[in-house]
């Protein structure tokens, strides 16, 4: 199995442990990733907020490279990137004149015919039966709150993936690996995305709500497939705790971390040790059972109103 691969800036930058994690899984599963040659930044939020044509041209340049090199499907593990690729793809596919205009801007023919896949879709392609058959260490200690964030399932007309209000694709994969999943209400609530620096207070509040809801729903970890979400829930967890006087102690895994663990890979090669919050979900269960305090829960839950 082979896919074109668009890592994006985060995976080659401060979220490179996510790349380590997914590459370790893909190697084990014999999935080849062909990184797009000399890919360009997708423009993320900044481009679409400030310059409409640029927000199409930057991802279109990557789609053009994929088309030129015969890569019909591109795996983009960062949903901000995959959203920009999807939007460009959609705008181009419906509009021949735009195809001409953008092809000139990016100096390469682009029609928008390339399919874009997220991490969950790649695991779906591999198939839950195949994954289940290769499990070496069932995830029996995991009780996961599957956190999709915003851009994996919205807007439905563009991504055409799962259900945007009650997604289940991540749960299906984790269940096939022996994990338990929880029902909770914040699966698609925004964490604040790329505004970590510029609107930190917004990110801290939104992330606090998500972390609180995961715990209140009985999860001993959160699982995500987005590097921005991971940063806001993991790297910023200590800041969230300070700002909201809370104690979350919540492990935030990438989906590929758990798939890798189930397949027998170790925490080092999956980059799990390089997260900010490194805790054992099983230990969390034990310590929280011992220290259960109603007042803390009420205080934390009041922010959910």
């Amino acid at each position: 199995m082979e896919f074109g691969y668009y890592p994006g800036c985060a995976l080659h930058g401060s979220s490179n442990e996510y790349e380590a994690s997914l590459r370790a899984c893909m190697n084990t599963l014999n999935v080849e990733l062909c990184e797009l040659d000399d890919w360009i930044c997708c423009g993320a939020t900044a481009a679409h907020a400030l310059n409409h044509m640029l927000s199409i041209a930057l991802p279109a340049r990557n789609l053009a490279i994929a088309e030129r090199d015969g890569l019909n499907e591109v795996f983009a593990p960062c949903p901000l990137c995959s959203m920009e690729l999807h939007k460009a793809r959609k705008s181009l596919a419906d509009d021949q004149a735009l195809q001409g205009q953008v092809s000139e801007i990016v100096e390469s023919p682009v029609t928008g015919q390339t399919d874009v896949l997220n991490l969950i879709q790649v695991f779906q392609r591999i198939g839950t039966e195949r994954l289940a058959a290769r499990v070496k260490r069932p995830l029996s200690h995991i009780r996961a709150a599957c956190y999709y964030g915003c851009l994996l399932t919205r807007p439905p007309k563009i991504v055409q993936f799962d259900n945007c209000e009650h997604p289940t694709s991540m749960q299906d994969i984790l269940k096939s690996l022996g994990a338990e999943v929880v029902e909770w209400g914040s699966a698609t609530e925004c964490c604040g995305a790329g505004l970590t620096l510029a609107s930190e207070d917004v990110v801290l509040e939104l992330s606090h709500r998500i972390l609180t809801d995961a715990a209140a729903s009985g999860a001993n970890c959160i699982v995500t497939a987005c590097p921005m979400c991971h940063v806001n829930l993991d790297m910023k967890q200590a800041d969230v705790e300070r700002r909201w006087n809370a104690h979350h102690d919540m492990m935030v895994y990438y989906l590929s971390d758990l798939v890798g663990l189930a397949l027998g890979l170790d925490e080092q090669e999956l980059g799990i040790a390089r997260h900010f919050v490194v805790t054992d979900p099983a230990e969390r269960d034990a310590s929280h059972a011992a220290n259960f305090s109603t007042s803390t829960t009420e205080e934390q839950n009041s922010c959910l109103e």
Binding site: C9, A10, H12, G13, S14, S15, N16, E17, D38, W39, I40, C41, G43, A44, T45, A46, A47, H48, A49, L50, N51, H52, M53, L54, S55, A57, L58, R61, E104, I105, V106, E107, C150, L151, R154, P155, P156, K157, C164, E165, T188, E189, C190, G192, A193, G194, L195, L197, A198, S199, V202, L206, M235, R274, F276
Partner: protein
Amino acid sequence: MLSQASSALVTCYQCGKCTAGCPVAERMDLSPNQILRLVQLGQEEKAIRSSGIWLCVSCLTCVARCPKSLGCAAAFDMLREKAVREGKVNASQHRVVLFYREFLKNVRKNGRLHEADLVGRYKLLGFAKDFRVHLLLKDATLAPRLMRRGRFSIKAQPMRDLGIVERIFQRCAQPTNATDDSVVTSEETV
């Protein structure tokens, strides 16, 4: 004479689902549906000066829920572009605009994000505007903590072909009346 944006929003019947689903609506000076209402009424001038358009986290909940398949995303993008182009950005949100502008300048230089450079410039330029020392100095320990985890690179990792990057940016460049000091004072907002 109604603008193209106003025509595009003609089917919005102000049901408010966008506002109901918006995670940051409570923080906005005007709610998402109110901002669209201004556009419908040809009052973009007020809309572009709002804080709401910059508090928007681009979560697309409004788009997913709009019964008329509209949502606020496209309209807000247009308003944001216009606000910067005309130099009428809500002062309280100057850091958001600064971040987006520095992000694009950074990408223009390297083809890919050079995080260390972006954060450094954002922090310094933000401080030069609002003198908030706390914002300048916090996160100072983040670089070493990321470095310990092998997740930080002081050096850029640029693309090979930087010429194409520059040419794409030039071809997409928009005329603007904005200077770098493109904010409006709070007295001038709605």
